[in-house]
């Protein structure tokens, strides 16, 4: 047993982090605010070249064939650096394509040519359904700009629908300036690359990667708060000397650590087919979602008025945390199936 990232993994992650710092600094989120796509197509293509979209995909479809825990570490960096763009949808989309034999499509996604936007199947009180291979109802699309497919996930499995087949596409304003959003209607739109949950636990895989992204947010906001607590002077001393601040940072450290370790545990559990993998993954999504939202919210408070401004990064983390929390089952949605599991192994 070894739960510490290997030297190999650390190197891989450092390379990704360097790319993000250079190509997609957080300021870019604010700068591209009015652009149709949250991430510049050029950066997307370069990220694909770097192998970010196919890290854990089979070599046969153009991936690097690395294990899920590597991919989780990558998504942690995506969360930490607040990288925008439909990474989660595309990575899972490529896997669906590969699993259902559409190797070409998988390759296109991994090469960054084809984008997959995650869909949420509830808009107001309308809940879209997948039955007999078709999707019907209203859906919410995240980062639909330039996406050829939408990723659709239900309790029974997951698949893709062509965005061109959707109607009433309407952009709506997203709270997160780094996530574009739209609604659309599906009138019996065929679902392709459908993979039943019984064949592959694709939704759990998505939940692990989402949890990892949330971990990155929880860690980044812990670090933002800690740095501010060390340097911001009030009453003649750094505010971090005050327990109201110090203990809040300590609580952030606890929740980030719990989220990190549980997410890595879950990634390894799922990869290695542990009997309690579903338990571990759902637990990870719960603690990581809470850690990200709580830490980001506390970061606003620690920064006071500054944290309440659009110019500061704190709210971007909070808003992203809310978005990722909703992907592959929110905290609330995870709890009932978690309780239905057998006790952990």
């Amino acid at each position: 047993m070894d739960l510490l990232p290997s030297a190999d993994q650390q190197e891989l992650v450092a390379a990704a982090a360097e790319f993000f710092a250079e190509q997609v600094p957080i300021s870019a989120v604010r700068e591209r605010r009015a652009d149709p796509a949250a991430i510049a197509p050029k950066v997307w293509a370069e990220g694909a070249l770097l192998g970010l979209l196919g890290l854990a995909a089979d070599v046969a479809v153009g991936g690097s064939g690395r294990p899920l825990d590597d991919e989780a570490l990558l998504f942690r960096e995506l969360g930490r650096a607040l990288v925008p763009g439909p990474f989660l949808g595309s990575v899972i989309g490529a896997r669906l394509a590969a699993l259902s034999g559409a190797a070409d499509l998988a390759g296109f996604v991994i090469e960054g040519h084809t984008l997959v936007a995650p869909a949420l199947l509830r808009v107001d009180d309308d809940v879209a359904t997948v039955a007999d291979g078709v999707l019907t109802g209203r859906i919410r699309l995240l980062d639909p700009a330039g996406a050829e497919y939408a990723l659709v996930v239900t309790d029974d499995g997951a698949g893709l629908v062509a965005t061109a087949a959707l109607t009433d596409l309407a952009p709506v304003e997203s709270s997160d300036p780094g996530t574009r959003m739209g609604t659309a209607r599906a009138e019996a739109v065929p679902v392709t690359c459908w993979v039943p949950a019984t064949q592959d636990p694709i939704a759990l895989r998505g939940a692990v990667l989402a949890a990892a992204q949330l971990v990155g947010i929880a860690e980044a906001t812990r670090d933002l708060s800690t740095a501010h607590a060390k340097t911001r002077i009030q009453f003649g001393r750094p505010i971090g000397v005050n327990q109201a601040i110090k203990h809040r940072c300590a609580d952030m450290a606890v929740s980030a650590e719990a989220a990190l370790q549980q997410t890595l545990f879950a990634a390894v559990s799922l990869r290695s087919g542990r009997a309690d993998a579903e338990f571990q993954v759902r637990a990870a999504k719960v603690v990581a979602g809470r850690a990200a939202i709580t830490n980001a919210a506390e970061t606003i408070q620690v920064h006071g008025g500054m944290g309440y401004t659009y110019e500061h990064d704190a709210h971007l983390y909070l808003k992203r945390a809310h978005v990722v929390d909703q992907l592959f089952g929110s905290r609330t949605a995870q709890l009932a199936p978690l309780l239905a599991q057998e006790a952990a192994q």
Binding site: L120, R122, V123, D124, D125, V127, R140, V172, E173, S174, S175, D176, T179, M181, I233, Q234, F235, G236, I239, N242, A244, I245, A297, I300, Q301, G304, G305, G307, Y308, T309, Y310, E311, A314, H315, L318, H322, V323, Q326, S330, T332, A333
Partner: protein
Amino acid sequence: MDLDFSPEQLLFRDEVRTWLAENAPSEPRPHGAAPMREYDLAWQRTQWEGGWAGIAWPTEYGGRGLTTLQQLIWYEEYARKGMPSIDACFVGLNHAGPTLITRASEEQKAHHLPRILRGEVVWCQGFSEPEAGSDLASLATRGEIDGDDIVVTGQKVWTSFADLADHQELLVRTDRSDRKHHGITWVIADMHSPGIDVRPIETIDGGAEFCEVFYDEVRIPLANVVGEVDKGWAVAMSTLSFERGTAYTAGQVRLAALVENLIELARERTGPDGRRPAIADDEISRRLATCRAEVASLRAMTYAGICRNLASDAPGPEGSIIKLYYSDIAKQVARLAMDVLGPDGLEFVSRWVPGGWSGHYFYSYSASIGGGTSEIQRNIIGDRVLGLPR
């Protein structure tokens, strides 16, 4: 003890109701800066003409000379009727005005107070600075006395509506010896003076009511000093205590209405299980009922505070209890709204339009920051209400 209004208070309430029913603005409040200023001032003018401006202000300055109890009745009826927020007029009516009443000279009062009530001017507050947030007394904006003027250079921040304002209650440092609370002067700045530069700050809820204000050798007549030069700290503190006391009444009444709206929403929307209405969810229904209980107790605290104020003079540190509790509840209500909305909460809807819950949610983060952070309120309660050692 009783909760009954006296016959004249009841009469007063009936008058309020009748007047509001007849005079409520028919147009919705606009959100652009200039039209909002005009709207708020016009509505204030209407209230003044109807005899509803400065209900608890002294009659000699155009007020009604009634008690904060009548003021409370007004706020409650006003909120019940869903009347517009009075944002642009807030500082004049609730900060600057009360401070002037307590601390200003007769000339200052006679000049400014009626203008506030008549809706002729917008006021803003110039207290916080980038390096003087919670530690307000460390403010560094310089005021050099030069002849009959104070010449001000420096920067203020978090000034609501500075871009719309005519006057500012401004704190400057006139003595730079190291006694932090000494050497601060409270002065009325004309926002149209040369050398003042205002830049709006965008906030996390899409609002832009906060501004940075830059001062470059701005000349302010010494006649505009309220209280004495170098002794403005006590003047400012009286304003802050006031802010934490009854000034929250209106916000509190709005919060109660928000809880009822949220209950309505939870009845109408399907809950997290996708089958039953949200209100049928045991967790959501308990949290909704808890919000109701808390808002009720916040109101009871406010009533008790008003009764206490009727018996004494200036608002005490107890105002911090109301402020802190209000902030906690406001944040809880907003979080609950997000949980009721689920994925739909990701969509941004401004709090100025119906169903603007996500806007409200992000706005709620200001509740525990503005007007003194919750940490500062807890310090005040610990130090000044409970007498704990510093």
